[in-house]
Symmetry: C2
Subunit: 235 residues, 2 copies
């Protein structure tokens, strides 16, 4: 009965994990890379539906495997959630990096520093509005686990974008640039990290599931720029 259903998803996705080589006609008792498959299913679930949609049994279903199999790779649902969150944070970092790339050509240092701050904020908001589920996942309360930016823990590379920096660190580097450029007094630097994040994060939350939900995208974007103005001016 093991031969039952093949996974409807073509879902193997890249891999290149050297494995393969087994005759696929035989039983799929050994999945190959179940952990990866579960993670990807989890990400997909989170994308549409946020954290509460990441249901362990559904993930295993999509991986074509019995529910308990998940426990060979994740000690609990929480653990799967934590892994999905790491991916979500990494995606967020990438969205911020993408925006940073667009301003890479600016040469004047202070212009550039300010542009970096704006880019970081814009990328953050873009991601929040385009990938609502993943964004919610990135900041879901997780019981035992913390979010990066927490000074008490070393940054986890799994949360980083291509530059190797996580979202919090990307913001930090923009602020550093502003200090270097003389656009931000060094004394204000430490708190600035949290102030800037607060403004942008708050807008994201209010739009996603707060009172501003359903605001037309053009208005949301405009509001986003206004918030960034406020941060820039108020730091």
């Amino acid at each position: 009965m093991t031969g039952g259903k093949l996974s409807p998803k073509g879902g193997s996705g890249s891999k290149g994990t050297g494995r393969a080589g087994k005759s696929p006609t035989r039983s799929t008792y050994r999945h190959g890379d179940l952990r990866r498959a579960l993670l990807e299913a989890g990400i997909e679930l989170a994308r549409q539906g946020g954290p509460e949609a990441v249901v362990l049994r559904e993930a295993t279903r999509r991986a074509g495997v019995v529910p308990n199999a998940a426990y060979r790779h994740f000690s609990s649902r929480e653990a799967l959630l934590a892994a999905v969150r790491s991916s979500a944070l990494s995606f967020l970092a990438q969205a911020m990096e993408a925006e940073l790339d667009r301003i890479a050509t600016i040469s004047r240092v202070d212009d550039r520093a300010r542009a970096m701050l704006r880019a970081v904020g814009t990328g953050y908001l873009n991601f929040a509005f385009a990938e609502t589920g993943l964004f919610r996942m990135a900041f879901a309360p997780l019981e035992g686990v913390r979010t990066p930016g927490d000074a008490t823990e070393p940054p986890d590379p799994a949360n980083a974008g291509k530059s190797g920096l996580n979202p919090f660190q990307l913001l930090g580097s923009a602020l550093d640039a502003m200090v270097s450029a003389g656009a931000l007094p060094a004394a204000r630097r430490p708190a600035a990290e949290f102030l800037a994040w607060s403004g942008v994060h708050g807008l994201a939350m209010l739009v996603i599931d707060g009172p501003l939900r359903g605001l037309p995208p053009t208005q949301v974007d405009a509001l986003g720029q206004r918030v960034i103005d406020m941060v820039e001016k108020g730091l």
Copy 2:
């Protein structure tokens, strides 16, 4: 139907809710005010544990009633959640009003207007940090229901504080005062509503279950004032 406002602190007397007349030794088939009891249980659950802790069966258990009984008063768990959220928003409004009361004596109009803005923000943050669970509940994503401040719906009095204003309206009145006092250009007034809220709300979220979780209260308070500074300056 619902009598006076519920108090943020826990339980009123269980039975004997006005009804009486029946010998209490007899069966408690008729509960008296089950809806109220369920709501209060829900509030208590939300207080410690936030929205996800508001479990329908547990609420009925606390009310001393079988699970299905809840469905005579709430069409679903979501509906109970929505009611609890209304209470949470009302408590939030009261916390903001409490802070407003403290500055009621200021007479110079522009001083007063600015103080109102700060009071509103401070009350908001105080509540968020003192009543984490209820605050999370107030802004939980609820599927079919919206949060007040949404312009598409008339304000629900159930969300209001003693002044009859909900949190969003309290902020609005502070901003109106600032415009009247000449402390805020009228042109900036409309967006100001959302900018101010974003800053404060973002900090609350980051501290509650984001990267700033676990920050010592004194630092949190300091950060709160800094955020309010930023808002005041950046509006």
